[in-house]
Structure formats: C-alpha cells, structure tokens
Assembly symmetry: D3
Homo-oligomer: 289 residues x 6
C-alpha cells in the first residue's frame, strides 16, 4: 500500500526536500522529472505547482499534499488539515494575502473598491472577500508581476506578501488583509478515513513537525556543583523539565535541557555566572514533546 | 506623443531586446524592473507576461504589443495585426498547439475525447476547438508542467510544442493540431486609427522585419573578369538584382549581391569555379527590399 | 615518517574531501594543484585519476590509495584491501560493470558476443570475463561516452552503471554483469608489512568507517517513566544496548540509543505512543561499535 | 537601548554572518544594503569596510566593531579590546604584515630600505615601523594588487600575508615582519564605561568565543565496563574532566567528554583498544568552559 | 622600442580589452596576472587600479595610461591629454563628481558645508573645490560604500555618479557638481617629447577613437533609380558625403553612406518611401573621418 | 546521400560549432546528446572524443572527421588530409608534443632517457620517436594530469603544450619536440574516392578555410581624391588588388581593399596622412581568394 503525496515544484522545492530529509525521507529527482524517488516504499511522491495540489487532493488523485491555505481556499478544496508546517520563510511573520493600492491613490478602504479593477492570482478568494464586504468590483486573473500593475493597468491588487518589502519597493499601500496563510499538510477525505493512510499521515506529521521544532531549538548540557543546582534550575525556563544525572564519585550533577535557540543568548552568560561549568550546546534534528 | 508598447517578460525577453537593438532601439532595464528605458523618446515600453499583453492591447491600456497568436486568441482580443515576427525559436518550424495523449492511450482521434479531462494553459482556445469538432470534454486550467499530467491526472493535454521533443520525452502522442502560432506585433484598434501612431507602428514593423530578414542573409562581393560576368550572373539566384560596378582602369567588374545564408554553401564553390576572385562575405544588420 | 596516500581527483574529489573532514582530516588544495595540504603531519596526499591509483600503489610509489575494485582489477594490481568504503553514490546499490547491447539487437547472451566488437574503459577486465566465458571478441579502449557507441560504432559495450538510467536513456539492454565494485582503501604489500604504516592505515580505516557509519545513524534520547521502561525497551531494536541513567530525585529514567536513521520514522511514533517524553534526535559524526 | 556594532563588508562578510548565526544571532541583508536586520532587538548592525570600522568606533559613531589589529593600529584608534576572535582563515597561522622585496633584490634587511620606495595599504603602521628602525623611506598608499608592484613600480611592499603563497607566486622574499594581526571585537571607550553596553559586549564575547571554541571540538560518548574505567580515564587528556554516569541495572558506566577535534584521530583507536564500546562522536555548537 | 601603457584593472578591464580588440590590439591575460600579452611588439601593457595610473604616468614609470579625469586631478598628475575616450558607460551622460546630502538634510548649498564632515574617495579634488568656494570642512577618505554613510557617519559625501540612480536609492540629494569626468588617454611629458612615442600614441588615439566612432554608426547601401537620386540625397543628412557609383548597363546608381545609428530609424522608412530599393545596413569596426 | 562527419566533443566543441556556424552550417545539440542536428541534409554529424575520431575515420565508420595530427598518428590511421584548420588556440604557435623532465633532473637529452619511465597520453607516437632515436624506455599510458607526475611517479613525460606555461608552472624543462600538430579535416580513403563525397568535402574545406581566413582580415573602404590615388595605392600592400570605382559627378574615387587585421594599425594612420577620407573598416565572414 502506498500514500500518494503531492509536493510543491519550484521555489519551495529545495526547502521541502530539506525538511523531508531532516524528517527522515530522502527525495531524489533528476533535473526535469516530476516523480522523485523516495527512500520509503510506502510513499509515492509527485511534484506539482503548489496552486494545483489542493485540487488534485480534493479530487482524490492524490491522497495528500503540501500547499498553502491560500491555494486550498482558492481551489475551494474540501480537504482535511493534518498539520500546520511553517518553513522556508525569511521571517517568523505569517504570509498574508493583502489588497494594496498606489501610495497616492484615493482608495482608502475596502469600500472604496466599488467599481474598480483588481488584479490577483487568487481570483475566487478575492471575489469572496469583496462579496462579504459588500463590494462590487472587477477581479481579473494575473499571470504574475502583479505588484507592478498598479496604477497603470489596474486600480488595486490582491497579492501575497511576507515582509511587505516588495509592496514598499513598488510604492504600494496595504488597505486590507484578506487572509493569513501557512503551509498545510492536507488530506483527501476518503484517504483520511482509511486507517492505514491516516496512521501514515499522522506519523508523517509527527516527524515533519519534530524536524521543524528542532530547527528553533538546541540542546544544552552543563556540569553543576550539587550546591548550585537549585540556583541553576531557577534560571532555566520553568516549563522545561531538565534531565539531571548524578556523576560518579562526585558531588557534581550533569544537567541537560532543550531550549529555544533565542533564549540561549541570555541564558548562557547567566548560567556561567551562576556556577555552571563546561556548558556545551549541540544541534538537534528532531524534537518531539 | 508616445506609443505605449508591451513586450514579453521572461524567457523571450532577452531575444526580444536583441531584436530591438538590431532594429535600432536600445532597451535597458534594471533586474527587477518592468519599465525599461529606451533610446527613443517616442516609445514607452512595459514588460509583461506574454499571456496578458493581448488583453491589455485589446482594452487600450497598451497601444500595441508583441505576443503569440495563441494568446491573442485565448484572450479573445480584437486587435490589428501589424506584422508577423519569427524569432527566438530553435527551428524554422512554426509553434503548434496540439492535443496529446499517452502513447498507449486508446484515444486515437479528437472524437474519442468525449467525456474526457484535458489540461491546458489555453482553456478557451481548446474549448472552442472541441466545440467546433462536436466534442464535449472537461477542460481544466494547468498552471504548468502540463506534459507530465498524462495519464495520472488527466486523459489528454493541449500544449504548445515546437519540435515535439518534450512530448516524445514524456511518451505522448499527438492526435490533433489546434492551431499554429507565431509572434505578432499587434495594435489596439483605436491606436491604429490615429495617424501618428499608425505611422510609428509601420516604421517599427519595417525596422523589426528588416532586422529579421538580415539574420538569414549575407552580403557577397567579388571581382569578375568582364568576359565571365554572364556566367557568374547565371549562377546567382534569378530574382536577386546584383549591383555591378566597373572598376577603374580595368576590364574587371565588381559584383555585389545579397543572398540567403543557406544558399552560400553551394554558391561560393560554384562562383569560384566560374572564375570569381576575391569573394568576400560580410554580415548585415538590416535588409529592406 | 609519512604515509603516502593517493586520493581520486575529479568527480569523486569533493565527496572524498568531505569524508576525510568528517573523519578528522582537513584537506585543502589550490584549484589546479594535485598536492593537498592535510592537518596530519603523518600523511602525504596526492590527487590522481582513480584509474591510475591502484597501479601506483602496486608499484610502491604510493603506500595506499582509494579506488574502485574495478580499477584495481583492470590494473591487475596485487594490493592489500584495508577497508571497504561506500560513499558518494546516489543509491545504496553497488556500482556494476555490465555488458549492454542495443534494445533491438539480436545479441541475447554473452555467448552471442563471439566475433563482435566491444568498447569499454576496462579492457582487461572485460577480456578476462569473455575469455572465462569462452567468448572470442574484439575489445577496444573507449575514451569516454561509451554508451552512445552502440549500435553505430560497436556491437556492445562494457560500462559502469549505478541505477541503469543512463543505459535506459540510450536504449541499451544489459545482457551480463561482469563485476560489482565499491571503493577500497588498499595498500601496497610492503607498506602493509611495516608496523607503523599498518597501524596508521588501520586507524585511518577505523575513522573513515566510523564516519560512514555515522551518516546512516542518529542519536535518540528520551525521558521515560520508570514503569514504562520495559515497554519502551521492547520497542527498541534488540541488538542495540541503550544507555539508561536514573534521573535525580525522580522515578524517570533517561534512555539514549543509537539507531539507523531509516528506523526512526517508525520508532518515533511508536515510542511516543508507548509513553516516551521529550524525544530528541541529534546528529552524529562518528560511530564506532 | 541598543548596541551599535560595525561588521566587515566584503570577503569576510559571509564568514562573519555564519559565526554570528552559530553564536545565536541571525543576520539577514538584502544584496546591496549595508544595514542587516538581526534577531536581537538590542543590536543594531552596520556593514562597513573593515578598514574604516576602528575609526568609527574610536569616534563613537559605533559602540563596537570587528576588525583586524592591523587596521586598529593604522587608524590609530584608541579603543578597548573586548575579545580576540580567530575565524575565516585557511590556516591556524596568524595573519602577518610583512615587508617583501623581489627575490633577486639586493635589499637584505630593513636597514637597506633607506631612501627606497615602499607601497602598502597600511601607510601609517609601516611608517611607524620604519621610524622605529631608524629607516627613512618613501611610503606610498597602494589601492590594491600591491604584490605585483615589485620591482617595476616600487622597491618593496608592506603587505598582509597568511600562508605566504601569494608572495611566493610573485617571486617576493620577506625581509621583516611588522606585526601579527587577528580580528578583534573592540569597543569605544565611553560605550565600555556604560554598564549596560559593557555587559552586552561581554555576553556577545562569551557567545562568539563559545562558538569558535566549538568549531575545533567534538563531543565523545562511550560505554565502558566498570573495571576498564581507570584505563580509559588514563588515556583521556588529563585536564578534561569527563562526565561519568552509572548505567541502570548494569556495571557499565557512560563516559562523556569534550575533546579537541585534532586529538580524536589518535584517541578513538586507543579507546577502542582499551575496551570502550559504542563510541560516538557528535558535533557541538558552543563550548563554554 | 616599446611604449609602456597602464590600463585599468577591475570593472573597466573587460570593456577596455574589447575596445582595444576592436582597435586592432588583442590583449590576453591569465586570471591573476597583471601583465597581459598583446599582439603588438611595440606595446607593453600593465594592469593597475585606475586610481593609481595617473600617478605612475606622472612619475614616468609608465609612458601613458587610461584613467578618468577625476583621478588625474586627484593625483595632481602633470600629464599630457592625448585623447578623450567615452566608453563602458550605460548612458551618454558624462560621469560627475557631486556633493550629496540626505534628502531631508538642512544643508542646501555648498556654503552650508562649513564645519561639516564629508566622506569621499577623492579627498584632494574635494578639498580644492571647497577651498575655492570658501568653505572650511573636514574631508575624510572613504574606502568604499560612500553613499550609505549619510547621515549616520558623515554629513555629506562627494561621490561619482552617472545616472544618479544609486544616489536616489540611498535618499540623497545633490547640492553641487565638482567636476565632470571622462576617460583620458594621457601621457608622461617626457614620453610625449620623444618623437617615436608621440607618433605611437597618436596612432593609438586614431585607432581607439575610430573604434569608438564606429560603435554609434552603421553603413547603409541602397540602389536608386537615376531620376530619384536628388530626392534621396535631399533626405540624407547634409554634412555626410555619400558615395555614389553608376551601375553597369543600367540607369540605377548605388548610394552608400555612413550614418549615426540613431538616425536610421527615421531614415530607412523615409528612403523606402522615396524610392530606394534593396536598402541594406551593415556593421562597422572603425570610422575615421 | 549523406556525408558522415565526426566532430570533437568537449573543450573544442564550442569553438568547432562557432566555426561551422560561420562557415554556414548551424549545429544544435541537446546537452547530453552526441548527435547534433545540422541545417544541411547532406551532412550527418557525430560528436566524439577527438582521440577516437581518426580510428573511426580509418575504419570507415565515419567518412571524415576533425582531429589533431597527433591523434591521427597515435591511432596509426591511414586517412586523407583534406584541409589544415587552425582555430581555437590562444596563440598562433602550433601545438607541440614535447618530452619534458624536472628542471633539476640530470636528463639533458633524448639519449639520457634510456631505461627511464615516461608517462604520456600518446603512447605509440612516443614509443616510435624513442625507437627512431635508438632509446629504450618504458612508456606508460597516462589518464591525465600528466604534467604533475614528474618527478614522483615517472622520470619524464611526453605531453601536449601550446605556450609552455603549464610546463613552466610545474617546473618542467623541455628536452625534445616529438611533433607539431594542427587540426586536420581528414577523410576515409574510400569515401574520398567517391566523387560526390569528395566534392562535398572540398566544398566544406573551402567554406571552413574561408571562414578562418576572414577572422584575421577586415574590409577597408575610403574615398580618395583622384590626384592622390597613386600615393594611396603605393601605401597599400602590393599583392592586394584593391577595387577602385569612380564616384558619380566627382573626381574622387572609392577604394576598397581586404587586409590582414594586423596591418591595419599601421595603414590607417598612414592612409589618413596620405589624404584618404572617410576610411571605414568593416568585419568579414568569409574570404575566398
């Protein structure tokens, strides 16, 4: 039995392959092929444009796939969300689908869009949003380079943005956010009802999320004199249960803890001052709570 | 006054810029910009996806543009064809939009497509063709990589092909040709009725076509003894009027002629045998008949 | 005293340097040089074509080298195999030297090769194989691109293949396997009899194999309630002795185990279900059993 | 409050960013920008030519910066050295500023430079050195490619060298060493007197040095039968305090130690012979003693 | 006898080599060398930073060199200008050295610079300009990236600009132009007084300028019926003397003329309308009036 | 009927394709293919290692091919030389096969090679040369990087050199030249006896040599007052017959001549001084005398 999985071709492909490799699945593909081989005989992978994956998952051509919430909605795909996966982005901010106009446009809010022309790659999501806001506008499909179409070709655009820097570079001003989007491991409904496929998907989710969690975390080990242990433990984040083991023939203990990487820059100097010795930090591949 | 011209962004861009440079128009653009500068104050150029240019020409946002006949038809754009331009292709064959199925499919002809699913980037052109052939099929928009969708995702595709080699590499078989397509310089109807814009467009057509014609031609000069002139002229292609000038203080004449490059490989050995001396071939930038 | 070691120049070089770096030996070489510097004063490294290394090891110009079994045999080199090293390949399948013919050739088996012409980079190995099979054929040295020579230039080829995909792409059919080959750390016989050199080579083998073993393995740590320990241990592969340590002031134990990476995808979900907490996976650089 | 930090633009930039990432600070910068963003709201980073950083630190435009001792001296910058950082070099040798002449020059020692012309990027440091040696020579500023100016343009050069290979390739001979230089984290004097900034700088130094220390070290774990422990401990470097923990229900102990990577190649074979089992080596990200 | 010529290393090198190739001098250089070989035994070429060439020409180490007027002035080099060469620029505008401040600075004119700090690569030229304008400011040498130093590090900069786009991208405003600069072939005064060297330099100037002139010009040939000749000649630019030759046995004439390329786009359509046939345009390598 | 032609794959391929394009034959090949398509239905082209082409021409598998004289001799191929083609080299010197030893070797002449070991890619040619010189040495086949084998692996090498710079960089000294080699268009003897194939080959030779001749030549045109014509003609190289035509209604004549490019740098200044006006130089594609 095999699980048929659609993964995004193109700009996300390398990041996706790296995530799967870290999760334990090695994908290899020849340059122009769309059918990678994978070192798990229970998986069959197809590369596709992210835009199309939810449609084919919905229709059952694929058991499951990775794509953004934006494209799941645009395809009106009725699928099961198995896991939320945040990767391959340059900031921790979510990706947003926003409506933007020229800086000097007199369109100030969504209601000003009545009767205007809007270019977007996500026509249906945009139309639905406008309808819900009681706005009647002409929404046209944009094949790309959407952000340069204002103001010469259209009055406004609905476009994906992460940091807003491309919008700023094109002198655009955001007037509304249609939705926030992250990558979803999503499944076909029938496939989800198959027990073998559901367990396979749940295991996949555990491994992928374990890999992502490990990216923002590090392992920390240190040796602590017995009488400094309480001080040290007080410094460590409360919710983390450190692993403490007694050293042989000694009144020192070894303390080991998993931390978020961004805490380390404050903790290491503090631990050192509090009497910890031989602090080492080591990298992690997976973290499962 | 300015003529607003849409040129294709992407894979055709470099070839288009080279053609315009040869025609006398130097376009320069910074890497992420869509608004090249051009050394002709009467032109304003916008880079766009070729798919969208006919739509914006039709609507009058652009006065004119370069795009394929396929996309003019897909956009149902009612525009004026100013010139046919054949460039940036690896063979002299026209580009074709064909319907293809898996080699081992039992779909043999268009009529077998009834009730089938077809993926294509050119949905309307394909639907129109099927309708005209009395076929009722489901045509879905493909965001790319169309040729790998058969047979897993769809039964057939309608895709652009030049040499057929990508179809062959994907084990596909052509069952019908929907249309042949070349690049067209096409104009908005109102712009065409403006005398200044029409003359500007006609001049542009002369220069672009003069540049393309020069690519397949070379200049040939040779010195010929007076008594061999008739023999030499008999060898040269009949329709070409060579330029003959008498040399000073000599009974030799200089013969100069413009030829198609592919004739040269047979003519040069023949001319040499017939008594021509000092044959030189030189490159051309434009040829206007 | 120094050990003189030949390493393969060219396509294997980067992978070899990475393996040595992981094993603890940093090699640096300027772009056109063949004499890398190495951070071990007891080693002297020469880069060479893999084809030539066994010959120079055999002759004692080098104490030892890395090359494939195929080239050791082709050079008829009488050397000591110190270690088998599997690296720098895209699949876990061994590399094979096979005899292949055109798909539509009427050569079906080795005996059909009588009187035929065969191109190969490994002339002697091929001749020996044919002789042992009672076949009399003309074997010619091929400087490269061997797989395109059938059927225009020769009747069959003897060529190296890993996945068979290049053979398939050239419409070739395998009719026999001459040998399977892996990379060997091999030594000159006299050098091997020198105690200092032998120990240096054995240590090198331990480190290189420890590095390779680590590539397919990961470290796994988890915290386990005392009463779940037996369940957890039952899930872990039997032959692996996990390291179990008691946590201070707690009835939990820490379990640590080294596993093959390909087992992890099944074990992690199972361990979690069985009550393990805070499972972390971390990367390894060397594993010595 | 923010600490304003100058980092070197150019050839050192990537290595610097990698070091900071390992230390826990992620810097991202768009291709032509000089103001990277950093995931620490207490830091403000500016990219600059290494030559200029000490000047701006001295003047208080920056609180601190990274630059070589050579440029601190050339700028006559009166700054506080916070930490010595050795990174981004191909060898462990220090970088030296040397005076070099043509191989066949009759300049043999510093005193022979009297009345000669010397090209260098470090004019003041060179002038000071000559003055201290009682030599009167003409020192001119070199914009680059200093090593090819001898002998046609100048008599000698004062240039930075690491391995000496570029000097050798240009047929130059070193006659004196002006100074040895490493990268310094250095601070403005007033900033150093501010308690918040001083602590921030000290923490930064701990993390950067912890990252650098980790690059040359590895973690080693092994299981040891109780009766072999003393033998094993005798093999391990004396100054390192290994972490020893008793295994549950067993008379084995787990021994864990942090070692310099260059010791490993001798220790692993020795430990194995002495009875250690399941030796694993794992990578480290930070080591704080 | 040889002429020793300094050519700019770096960003201008490729353009300079192309210009010399077109002028008839083929320069070849191995990647890290500064001494190209040239196919003229009378030339000896040295590659150098453009900043240093005028200094070495002034001092007689070189007979002549190519560098900008800006660097000739900065070096206070007393040299002979042999030829003005405009090449390797993206626009026909001259390069300018300008003083720029932040857009929102309250420095509005040169006189506002009193007491301010200015960064520049051309310290002496800037100081001289300020002195002549009665301004007393602190001018500091900038090693690069000058345009990002305003406003954090300095109050103003003096920097080279061609299109002004880098200044605009850094939100800078030009308040004064110090000088306009083009590339000069300049000679040492003594070398210029040597008759052989002077003639060599004059010939070099003719060839380099002939090559540059040819870049903006094309050759045009056409056949014209005798009775249309006057009309055609009236269309052609007055100052150009066309070459007219009578065709054999015909009342047509061949007209040939050299034109500036930018005239061609208007002339070709006009000539065609006026009765010219077989118009061809061909490229030129040198044009000497 | 088709002529089957072998062209060199690899480093010479691009230069060969450019030469054929200039000669009028456009070759296109997909990245991994060995069978280019060509716009001449009478040609069938195969790409091969240059080393193997003469063997397959000799055996009649190919009608003709391009390869060096060195490989024709090494293959002991009995073929017809159709044309000598000098292209794709960085200098006008011929390529030479030389015997080289270490600079400090005491091998001074060929006779000192008795009993020595020599590595070379051209074993037979080298053996024949040694035999003819009465020397008995061991010649071994080198798979590449031959020049670094001296002195550690062999006593001498026989290697191809063009400028000698690689030999110099490896501290080698040339003691003998075995042969000089250029690229030959060579034909199978039977193919040459076929009249159609012989004419096709002769035409090909005319076009290829015409293209090569054009690379070193330019066209020069100028206008000359009638009374200066003799002076001008006296300056032009004697053997070249210039084309002189009388200008209409004028006492000026137009002079046109084909020159070697290396003459132009002296002639243009001289012609200008002698009264020529409007001198233009234009590029050539073919020159057939």
């Amino acid at each position: 039995m095999k699980l048929r999985l659609g993964l995004p071709k193109g700009s996300l492909q390398e990041a996706t392959f790296q995530l799967f490799k870290q999760a334990g699945f090695e994908l290899t593909v020849r340059s122009r092929s769309y059918f990678p081989s994978v070192n798990d005989p229970e998986l069959e992978v197809v590369l596709m444009r992210a835009q199309e994956i939810p449609r084919y998952v919905h229709e059952g051509v694929l058991d499951a796939g990775l794509s953004g919430l934006d494209w799941i909605l645009e395809n009106e795909a009725d699928v099961v969300e198995v896991a939320d996966l945040v990767y391959a982005k340059s900031t921790p901010n979510p990706i947003r689908l926003v409506i933007a106009v020229a800086n000097d446009s007199n369109i100030k809010s969504v209601s000003d869009l009545n009767g205007k022309r809007i270019a977007t790659e996500l026509v249906r999501v945009t139309q639905k949003f406008l309808r819900e806001n009681g706005v009647n506008a002409y929404v046209e499909y944009s094949y790309g380079a959407t952000e340069v179409k204002v103001p010469h070709l259209v009055d406004a655009i609905a476009d994906i943005t992460e940091t807003g820097s491309s919008l700023k570079a094109n002198n655009l001003r955001v007037i509304a956010t249609i939705l926030e989007s992250t990558t979803k491991l999503h499944a076909n409904k029938e496939s989800w009802n198959d027990p073998w496929k559901r367990e396979k998907l749940q295991n996949l989710a555990v491994l992928l999320q374990g890999a992502l969690r490990a990216r923002a975390r590090v392992g920390l080990k240190m040796n602590v004199p017995g009488d400094r242990l309480d001080t040290i433990l007080a410094i460590l984040p409360a919710m983390k249960q450190p692993t403490i083991s007694q050293l042989v023939n000694s009144d020192w203990v070894a303390v080991e803890v998993i931390l978020e990487e961004r805490q380390v820059r404050d903790l290491i100097p503090a631990l050192k001052r509090a009497g910890a010795h031989d602090i080492i930090e080591y990298p992690l591949t997976k973290v499962i709570p």
